[in-house]
């Protein structure tokens, strides 16, 4: 049975001499500080490496972003959302006017006062389209 095992046993520690306790405690302190430093130094290294890799990726991405292709998905998303808005508006108009939906064609949506507030689109998405 090693010193540390006896130290870790609540029944045996009371029989240990003062000097043994000092020794064991010193060992624990050294080990503890050592591992703590080791772990955080390793982490430091990994984060440094990661930062450089990411910096590299970011530069590439920026270069790519200049190309016109990059904007496509965003536009598409906007269109999709607009189409959904059209669908919702059509349904609302149909319900309000009592006309069958296929008689109504929403030709154009103009947003009043520029940007649609973010919470609104978030709300619609959350209410209509987001669940688990």
């Amino acid at each position: 049975m090693t010193l540390l095992e006896r130290f870790a046993d609540p029944d045996l520690i009371v029989q240990m001499e003062f000097s043994q306790k000092v020794l064991a405690s010193t060992y624990v302190a050294l080990l503890g500080m050592g591992i703590t430093f080791l772990a955080l130094i390793l982490l430091w290294g990994v984060i440094e490496i990661q930062s450089r890799l990411v910096a590299g990726i970011d530069k590439k991405t920026e270069a790519v972003k200049v190309a016109p292709k990059a904007k496509a998905p965003e536009v598409k998303a906007a269109v999709t959302e607009d189409l959904e808005l059209v669908a919702v508006i059509t349904a609302a108009l149909a319900a309000a006017t009592g006309q069958p939906m296929n008689q109504i064609v929403v030709k154009n949506i103009r947003r009043i006062a520029g940007e649609q507030p973010a919470w609104k689109s978030a709300g619609i998405n959350a209410q209509f389209f987001k669940r688990m």
Binding site: A87, A91, F129, M132
Partner: protein, 383 residues
Amino acid sequence: MIQAITNFYSSTGFSAIDIGQVLMIIISAVLIYLAIKKGYEPLLLLPIAFGMLLTNLPLAGMMDGAVYDSTGAMAQPGGLFYYISQGNKLAIFPPLIFLGIGAMTDFAPLIANPKSLLLGAAAQFGIYITFFGAILSGLFTAQQAASIGIIGGADGPTAIFLSSKLAPELLGPIAVAAYSYMALVPVIQPPIMKALTTKEERMIKMDTLRSVSKLEKILFPIVVTLVVSLIVPPAATLVGMLMLGNLFKESGVVARLEDTAKNALINIVTIMLGVAVGATATAEKFLQIETIAIIALGVVAFGFGTAAGVVLGKIMNKLSGGKINPLIGSAGVSAVPMAARVSQVVGQKENPSNFLLMHAMGPNVAGVIGSAVSAGVLLSLFG
């Protein structure tokens, strides 16, 4: 000194990690990437993936059970995930998720057009064809095959509920497959939908849905609970909680409870359910030939479910004299609301003035009821 270093090394994860765990950590990193960057059902895939990562860290003991000494007293409590996973093991979490979903779901499109229920039933065909396939692969018991089949229900909580009861050992891959394919619905469904329909069918515009009165909306959850639970009693837990949540919403008198059911409660349970599902995906359970079979069978399930919905949509269109766009049939697989959106998008491509979204929401929510019913049937057969 060398002894101390050796001791320390053997206490680190580096000494104990095996290739399987490394693979699992890589898989969880890929899932985190898909959840964050690709937006694959992140609310569940992110907790699942992180749970998977943590459970595969060697010596961390996140899933260890409690240790008892000879007198029966607890010597060491279990790991955090061991306790959290009781909520899945005891089938508590999925019905609570359903409570919140019920409080978020508007069944009006289904009440206005209850024929949609047929499409929600047809799309469950994927469940059984996959069950068939899983059995014939010879790799699975009937319990396991049923749990795999339910992936075709395209409904996460139902899949987790059934797997926890019938085949907890497969919970990890089944949940990952279910949520991944739900996120992939916009990729999987359109080609099938186009292959099975004509351009004319896809261009059909549907009549506006009638408005639904408050009383109908209040009666709906009660009636559904009664009818479904009487026909398929094991479905009562899932359907009952879904409908209780919906009654909170539609009654209008318990806004506090509705709010909590669809926010704080569902979010707390989602976190717990997610990490607990991920925690079951240890290397020795996940890295099996069965997992690959499950992934393969899952796509079959979604494909056949979509096809069955569309085909019934075509038949109903014929019978109704051309008033039903078959594209809304594919929404019957559930995967709310993604599948309904897909119907909308595919329909609008043929005819920009065609708005199928609300019509597709009917089969879409019917599909949730349909898969809960099918889960009940499988539970009564193999539970």
